[in-house]
Subunit: 421 residues, 2 copies
């Protein structure tokens, strides 16, 4: 599936329909190029001989493709590796300054902007107030102005800027619009986000789910191997997950895979804003925890503080040893552990990463509960362990992921994205 081309549309549209699901007809040069770029990026540095071994391509093909990538400025020679008997081998690496992309996360507590380079490193990041509660048309203008500002201040060559990725909580349709949202984002439902932003920024724009983007960002920036099956459990104001396998995000049929925050863990639980009952998010997401803390008399600042700011205050109290705060967070962690267990049983990843702004502040309280529950209760625990860890990009993981999806779409032409949709 081609992120920039329109997410789920690739699987449902008439024209490219078959190609969307069966990508084996990609031309050999396109495949080789995509694969070599992906392996060089994941390896940080690698020799041509190692590239041939890792990809299964012939040395001749590797040499030809690498020469072209060097000519295009995407790959550079960065020195020599240790000799293995013969002459030392020249090491290759991605040229990080060859391409840039912008990522924007629309959050309920604020808007995060990231400028990332081709290596997945964050060149610049900034935050401003939440835009999701404002008129979407007005928000588009604000985002466009911010984008112009950062491009100017960063001094990068605008021709190297490949596009803008925008991420929001799901669900989305065809990577063009939001189809269901809770307050304060309801005004964005069915607003043509992608179209309006493309007109306002004069950049190719990609719209995706925040958790899905996060999985791509982790893969790109953290050097996760293409053999990894990754589940990124994301907690912002909402709870979701991004899935990645074979180096590409897994989106499902409509582009909305991974919605583990809205699985039922209590058939008689409260009705969630999504219309379902007993959802993990309704029972144990930041909004539920903050509401419970306030009812218990915990001081989390003004009542109109954004949920994630209040949740951060609660997490800091818990980390400082406040018993009431700690009990509330640990109760939430029990439910998040069940969500993680569900993901692990259904998707069977070998790496589970806790990420997103809520885990960025409270991750150390959740990690041991989640890791222990998964290790002890996973159905396939006899077949080997699942690694569980915290993301190092918690607060901006989704914005970084948005930028990453833009870079991936630039480097891996449309068809090459298809196997994992």
């Amino acid at each position: 599936m081609a992120p920039a081309g329109g997410g789920a549309a690739a699987g449902h549209g008439a024209a490219g329909r078959y190609r969307g699901a069966v990508p084996l007809a990609l031309s050999a040069p396109t495949q080789s190029r995509t694969m070599i770029l992906d392996v060089v990026r994941a390896s940080r540095t690698i020799s041509r001989v190692e590239l041939a071994t890792a990809t299964g391509l012939t040395q001749a093909t590797v040499s030809t493709v690498v020469r072209r990538l060097i000519d295009e400025g995407l790959v550079v020679e960065v020195g020599r590796g240790a000799s293995t008997g013969g002459k030392p081998r020249t090491l290759l690496a991605i040229e990080p300054t060859a391409r840039y992309a912008l990522g924007v996360q629309l959050g309920t507590d604020g808007t995060t902007f990231v400028l990332a380079d081709l290596g997945g490193a964050i060149v610049s990041r900034w935050r401003r107030g939440a835009l999701v509660g404002t008129d979407p048309g007005h928000a588009v203008g604000t985002i466009a102005a911010e984008v112009d500002g950062i491009v100017e201040r960063s001094g990068i060559d605008r021709r190297r800027l490949t596009g803008l990725g925008v991420v929001a909580p799901g669900p989305l349709q065809a990577a063009t619009r939001i189809v269901l949202a809770q307050p304060p984002m309801t005004a964005w439902v069915d607003f043509p986000v992608r179209e309006r932003l493309e007109a306002a920024t004069r950049l190719p724009v990609l719209l995706d789910n925040d958790a899905t983007a996060t999985a791509a960002g982790l893969y790109w920036a953290d050097g996760i191997a293409p053999t990894t099956t990754l589940a990124a459990l994301f907690m912002g104001q909402g709870v979701g997950a991004g899935l990645l396998t074979g180096g590409r995000v897994f989106r499902g049929a409509s582009g909305n895979a991974g919605e583990v925050g809205h699985v039922t863990v209590d058939l008689d639980g409260p009705v969630c804003w999504c219309g379902n009952r007993g959802c993990v998010e309704a029972l144990a997401g930041p909004a539920a925890v903050v509401e419970r803390a306030r009812a218990a008399g915990v001081d989390l600042g003004d009542d109109d503080r954004p949920v994630l700011a209040a949740f951060g205050a609660l997490a800091r109290l818990a980390l400082a040893g406040d018993r009431v705060a700690l009990d509330l967070v640990e109760d939430s962690a029990r439910y998040l552990a069940v969500a993680a267990h569900t993901l692990v049983n259904v998707v069977d990843p070998d790496l589970l990463v806790l990420t997103g702004p809520a885990f960025a502040v409270a991750g150390p309280l959740y990690l041991p509960v989640v890791a222990q529950h998964v290790a002890e209760h996973r159905f396939a625990r006899g077949s080997g362990p699942v690694q569980v860890r915290l993301s190092t990009h918690g607060p901006e993981s989704a914005a970084l992921g948005a930028a990453t999806l833009v870079l991936q779409a630039e480097l891996a032409p449309r068809g090459a994205e298809a196997p994992l949709t």
Copy 2:
């Protein structure tokens, strides 16, 4: 992932490691062959021109590959399609008698054998008593004798028999052994099933999860399009799911994806045999329903009757309008609907099929409850519908799936299976 080569091993082994996850280096002829076979099979009949459109391959490539497939006897010309202005087009189809495969499902209530042809049609099927409660070494001998018998009786050329697929409830390790099981199957844990069966039958043997195999069987036998993302919710004595996307089963990192029967829907629920608490299977699987029915005084025959036989008796009572039986089944359906909803939210399929022996008898009672719950509560319901239906191969879907995986492995060489691991 190559089923015959060893499931999860492809993702974790040292030698083929990278190839396992990034298959883009497959030779172009191998890719074209696999894709063309897959499209011809899914289409039932198709012209060369339509094949080129569907695959994105050139007409020249299609002609070359088709000629080879005809020479090998795998594809035949079956007549002419309607003219679209020019001369009528010759239609191609799979030659069903070109290859055969055997599938065996090890169930707690019986053992199902299926002989399937290359078109996915069942040539022969038979059942015998359960083998899972017997000594595995003895069971291997029994299976080998049954296999010899059916090959002889069917009169097929043994050289056209590609192998034997064996499926069992999970979890499995590396497609070679069962790593966790409940009574009466505990003696099979860590028994080298695949190795012993290969020695006894002198056939290539593939071991896989029953629900996973079912997804492959539905794809192969029911003409499901390669663009479909399929979730097969399987209920035998246990509850699980098989996942399929892009025409290949999705197995996850350890080969154990889809274990939705062991996700928690009640944090304070009963402890399941798997060690987790409040699992769908423990709360609402056939064993739980039968136990509840017996406690309520419903006559389901002898107490030592296999669970699925007793569950079938209960389902027939419910279908005949018995109020107590109906209430018990509808209560179970509420939980299965939650499991289906979990699958749909996490995997985002566009087709959900209820299959396996328990749905084969009770499916009409479960289907409306599941379909309505998914339609109303799915998180991404705004992005389009999910089709929910009953399998037409309920009782033998897993055995057929086992045979299908063998055929797939025969037709799609090892590497071609990889994108979906």
